[in-house]
């Protein structure tokens, strides 16, 4: 076997020092051959980003990192100083959120030129334009500031900066996570094209096995700082040994999908939106976010509203929850017109419906313990003060936070992401709501949490005949969880129907684009050979 371009052996990284350092990476070894594409997958906190940053000695000093292990580049041993000298010269890096990773005050052309000045001092003045052309951007882009570009364009600029280095290894840390699926597909294709042109090796850090399987030959699965599974992509997929790897595979394709519809289309809907219009701003700057969209949701069914960011799906959810008043249209909950009600009547009527937000510490009042949060919700359902504690424990155990009593006096920020998401569902149950509106409840959640929350929602739906409006950008999640799917594009519902039909055989061109761009776990290895 030829000398690997980069080899890492027995790497451990811990933070904080003192008596109880936090060990982020624990005895990881991997090597990358020249021109190869290797992936590291794992959920947030698995140590994959720490691993990537250690290669160029980029860990923030404030965390007091301690690094043990050996690095070799081109067969030569590298200490921290030597790894720093690789920066830009031999190894380039692309990060997740190109808006914050580009200097907001400097034109992007100058940022690229600055890198050129270090690594290619003799470069011709039009070299920047050449690099922009290589990442399929017009030369005029050089004069733009980062905030004037779209997310995809910014990521292309980041890639151009990496190319300006002329590096032999590209480390891409979640390069497409902040992007929409169609943009993601373009960026991935661009990276593959550039690799074919330059013979650059790739170390891809990702949480998405779909992305990995389209890009890489070899995959390392990281879990809690350790590599739990490694090998050629096809082999790992075919013979996944760990539960974690298996749930990763399931998340990137449609498995365990419910069959058929849950509700009779003739039954009256519990939630109905019709011809909803909403614009923001005035005059020539007005932006029409919703252009006559409507949905119907029936008892016991899950309707997934899918679309990319900016499609208006979150605004529609806010309209449904009466948090945003539409300019025109009808909103009915349990057959009653919410828009025509007095504020007092609306306050009483709206409690038949409750939101479950994306997990964050912002979903709960930081000053209320769990008992306070659930107590408020139970009060709405008319539970008398004396019974609230007992009922709160009951509800907590329904969402598998048990023993419930142990959670009553905790604060949301003291709980893990998965526990918090179940608390959000518990709060919705406590109000006695029959309709749940879940706005991206699982985006940002790791697959292991995702599976458990989806299972919980299904279980509760079966018990209580809950109607769930599920807003998501993840096609496979919609396919595996929802009975019906509505696709939203530029403020309109362009296609709607049973999940199987819409996603397996899309008819509208936009849906087709959305589905084909969504990376699916291919068990045969990468589509583009390295």
């Amino acid at each position: 076997m030829a000398t690997p371009l980069l080899s890492i052996s027995n790497l451990s990284v811990s933070f904080g020092g003192g008596a109880a350092p936090v060990r982020a990476v624990n005895g990881v070894s991997l090597s990358i051959a020249p021109g190869a594409a290797v992936a590291v997958v794992g959920e947030s906190g698995s140590g994959k980003s720490t691993l990537a940053r250690t290669i160029l000695d980029l860990l923030p000093a404030a965390g007091r990192p301690q690094v043990e292990g050996r690095f070799a580049f081109d067969g030569q041993d590298c200490d921290a100083a030597r790894r720093r000298s690789l920066r830009g010269r031999e190894v380039a890096m692309v990060f997740q959120d190109p808006l914050s990773y580009l200097d907001p005050l400097m034109r992007v052309g100058r940022q690229i030129a600055e890198v050129l000045a270090v690594h290619e001092p003799a470069a011709a003045p039009d070299r920047v334009d050449e690099l922009l052309a290589q990442v399929q951007l017009k030369p005029g882009i050089a004069a733009a500031f980062p905030h004037e570009l779209s997310g995809g364009m910014r990521q292309r600029v980041m890639i151009a900066m990496a190319l300006a280095c002329g590096a032999r290894l590209l480390i891409a840390d979640e390069p497409t996570t902040a992007l929409d699926v169609t943009t993601q597909a373009e960026i991935l294709a661009l990276i593959s094209k550039l690799r074919a042109e330059t013979g650059m090796a790739l170390l891809l850090i990702s949480h998405d096995l779909g992305v990995v399987s389209t890009m890489c030959d070899e995959v390392h699965v990281m879990y809690r700082g350790k590599v739990i599974e490694a090998g050629p992509v096809a082999q790992v997929f075919a013979h996944a040994e760990h539960d974690y790897t298996r749930s990763l595979i399931a998340a990137g394709s449609a498995r365990n999908a419910p069959a058929g519809l849950a509700a009779d289309p003739a039954e009256p809907p519990v939630l109905k939106l019709e011809g909803i219009r909403k614009s923001y701003g005035k005059g020539p700057h007005a932006v029409e976010v919703l252009r006559g969209s409507g949905i119907e949701l029936r008892r016991g069914e899950t309707l997934a509203l899918v679309g990319e960011s900016g499609s208006g799906k979150s605004t529609l959810a806010k309209v449904a929850l009466s948090l945003v008043r539409p300019d025109a249209g009808r909103l009915e909950l349990m057959g009653r017109d919410l828009l025509a009600m007095s504020p007092d009547a609306l306050r009483r009527a709206r409690t038949a419906m409750y939101p479950v937000f994306q997990d964050s510490s912002e979903a709960f009042n930081p000053r209320r313990p769990v008992l306070g949060i659930l107590g408020q919700a139970l009060a709405v359902a008319g539970v008398p003060q004396a019974e609230r504690e007992a009922r709160a424990i009951e509800v907590l155990e329904q969402v598998h936070l048990s023993p419930g009593a142990a959670f009553l006096h905790r604060y949301a920020h003291e709980m893990s992401g998965g526990q918090r998401q179940r608390l959000a569902i518990a709060r919705a149950l406590a109000t006695g709501a029959e309709v749940l509106v879940a706005d991206e409840p699982l985006s940002g959640a790791d697959v292991s949490i995702r599976d458990r929350v989806v299972a919980l929602l299904r279980e509760l739906q079966a018990q209580r005949q809950l109607a769930i409006l599920f807003i998501t950008h993840d096609i496979w999640l919609a396919r595996s969880f929802a009975h019906r799917v509505a696709v939203m594009y530029k403020g309109e519902i362009v296609e709607e129907g049973p999940a199987g039909e819409i996603i397996d055989a899309p008819r509208h061109p936009y849906t087709q684009r959305l589905v084909s761009a969504a990376p699916v776990v291919r068990e045969t290895g990468p589509a583009v050979p390295a």
Partner: protein
């Protein structure tokens, strides 16, 4: 990667950790100590020394000695006793002005941030006008025209300070009202004022109180400045007034000018330090 660092920090619950952080900081303890000492002086001082305040001795303009630690003034009164009596004025003006400015500013800011766009714009324009007016100039003019008096001085300082509090409160309310948990409270059918009072305000109040601590310092400085330039209340002992009357004996009796100034400096420093530490402890960014 940072989440793992943060995870270890969130192991201890919020209030506990903050208190521990405060108690472990020598600067915070210093400023707390000074404030407690001042409160004691202001509360007990007049009871002990009240009768001595006007007691004159034959030792006029005597320098610091074993008998009069900080010397005596032109009437032979002890500088130390006068300083202890003056602490009451500084603290009263500082605290009263800061409390009234904070309460008024917080109420106005909360309503401005939670109310409609029109009301908000109106209130913000008013605070802007207050902010471009130089506070010492206005305070001096108002006091000069209305005549001096403790109550008036407190009122003037509060009048000049509430806009900063209002702007901060409004900013916090605007930030918090867009958080998911406020939407969740609305969906529980809470009334708007209930949401504001029970969900938003309790989470917005910490930085406002921190600012209030800084206003105490500003107010004490402002009061001392007014008194120094002869615009103070004539019938009350105060540090600024001591400096003002010390000016006449500037070249003979330095102690009349130096010690009250040190007292003002240390007091203002203590409140500024306290505000600084509180801001650090309450700032969510400082947690990682």
């Amino acid at each position: 990667m940072q989440s793992s660092i943060r995870a270890s920090a969130t192991a201890m619950s919020g209030p506990d950790r903050r208190l521990r952080k405060l108690l472990s900081s020598p600067l915070a303890l210093f400023s707390g100590g000074i404030v407690i000492l001042l409160l004691l002086c202001a509360a007990i001082g007049p009871l002990i020394y009240g009768g001595q305040a006007l007691e004159m001795s034959a030792d006029r303009l005597a320098g610091p000695s074993a008998q009069d630690w900080l010397g005596t003034d032109e009437l032979g009164r002890s500088v130390l006793v006068q300083m202890i009596l003056g602490s009451r004025t500084s603290l009263f003006v500082g605290l009263a002005a800061a409390v009234s400015a904070t309460v008024a500013g917080a109420l106005i800011g909360a309503v401005s941030g939670f109310g409609g766009r029109g009301l908000d714009n109106f209130v913000m324009r008013i605070t802007e006008i207050f902010q471009v007016m130089p506070s010492f100039v206005l305070a001096a003019v108002i006091v000069a025209l209305w005549g001096p008096g403790m109550g008036k001085i407190v009122l003037v300082i509060a009048l000049l300070s509430w806009p900063q509090t209002a702007r901060m409160m409004r900013g916090e309310v605007l930030r918090i009202r867009s958080l998911d948990y406020v939407a969740a409270a609305q969906c529980l059918g809470m009334r708007p004022w209930e949401v504001l009072w029970r969900e938003v305000v309790p989470n917005a109040i910490a930085p406002v109180i921190t600012l209030g601590t800084l206003i105490v310092g500003q107010a004490i400085l402002l009061e001392a400045g007014l008194a120094f330039f002869g615009l103070g209340s004539p019938d009350v002992a105060s540090w600024g007034k001591m400096l003002n009357s010390g000016q006449r004996f500037f070249y003979q009796a330095w102690w009349l000018s130096v010690f009250p100034g040190v007292a003002i400096f240390v007091t203002v420093l203590a409140f500024n330090l306290a505000g600084d530490k509180l801001a650090e402890v309450f700032n969510p960014r400082s947690e990682h």
